[in-house]
Symmetry: C2
Subunit: 205 residues, 2 copies
Amino acid sequence: MVNHYSSKLVEEAVNELSKLPGIGKRTAMRLALHLLKQDVTYSEQLGNSIITMRTNIQFCKRCSNISDQEICEICNNPRRDEKLICIVEDIRDVMAIENTSQFKGLYHVLGGLISPMDGISPSDLTISKLIERVHNEDIEEIILALSATVEGDTTSFYIYKQLKDTAIKISTIARGVAIGDEIEYADEITLGRSIIGRLPYDKGL
Amino acid sequence: MVNHYSSKLVEEAVNELSKLPGIGKRTAMRLALHLLKQDVTYSEQLGNSIITMRTNIQFCKRCSNISDQEICEICNNPRRDEKLICIVEDIRDVMAIENTSQFKGLYHVLGGLISPMDGISPSDLTISKLIERVHNEDIEEIILALSATVEGDTTSFYIYKQLKDTAIKISTIARGVAIGDEIEYADEITLGRSIIGRLPYDKGL
């Protein structure tokens, strides 16, 4: 497809926008036109917020969560339980778990999952940093909160192997039929896991 | 939904990104995370291309097409036929028609269509500028290339009324069954229009 942009400026913006995941040339063009119809200030705010974010972002030295400081807000919060660490894939999982208000410990963000297919090995993740934390901090329990996929299971097992000879308790989040889902429609693996992981009635509510 | 961003920088970028049409908070977060995983230079290029485009863009003084100069490349091209003007809704239509390589005249970009529902009246478009062009330039034919919607038809009719008493020929693009489409599945209005607009066999190829 030959494209006749009547403006090099628009062509460049469309090219940059279409490098974003899930945004093709057509969508990028629609976004560029939208920006042209808006006030100049919006494009300035958008452009500057992207540049400022990328330039000034830091990764927490302790848990690798994104942060505006050297140590993130969660690690810095004296009311959180330092002895309990939840292992997650990325910062979206931190946000999802924080939204539940059910977890009062700290996190450790791996930055991905082990995936030989995608060329991601343990050394690409923050696993060695986790082992270091386990040795230097007074940790009692680690909760593995990784996706129930081949990659998630591989990563969980790898971490489990690294830590099983320490005194730390290693747990994993419960798998089971989601709240609101009908038993009939649950897949058999999930349903099987929810039976194996059954709880005393008064604790399962 | 309470959102726990561990970084104000990310929160701001997500807020700005989610103001774009078709991009919700979740997609914006995915885009922000993608940017964080890329090199700093990409975010700088993206941000700057957006700001530069919006700040420096001009609208051609003649046809209202977007342009990097006062007069756009198409209006400035001496090999194009100045006596033939194609009326389009926006610059995406200019690009679409340019891609066909079938049109050698100039354009007039309306900047929208008349739509009382959306509060868009003729005075919000560049129609008066078109009338001016008709009076000041040596135009022989105007081709209406607007969408086959209520808004498109209303706008076409409005322009037709304004110009019908001049010596200018007013035509509209052909409507009909698309190349590659089966007659059986064409909607009846399109099929009806393609019968009314039938051509001598040797011209219809």
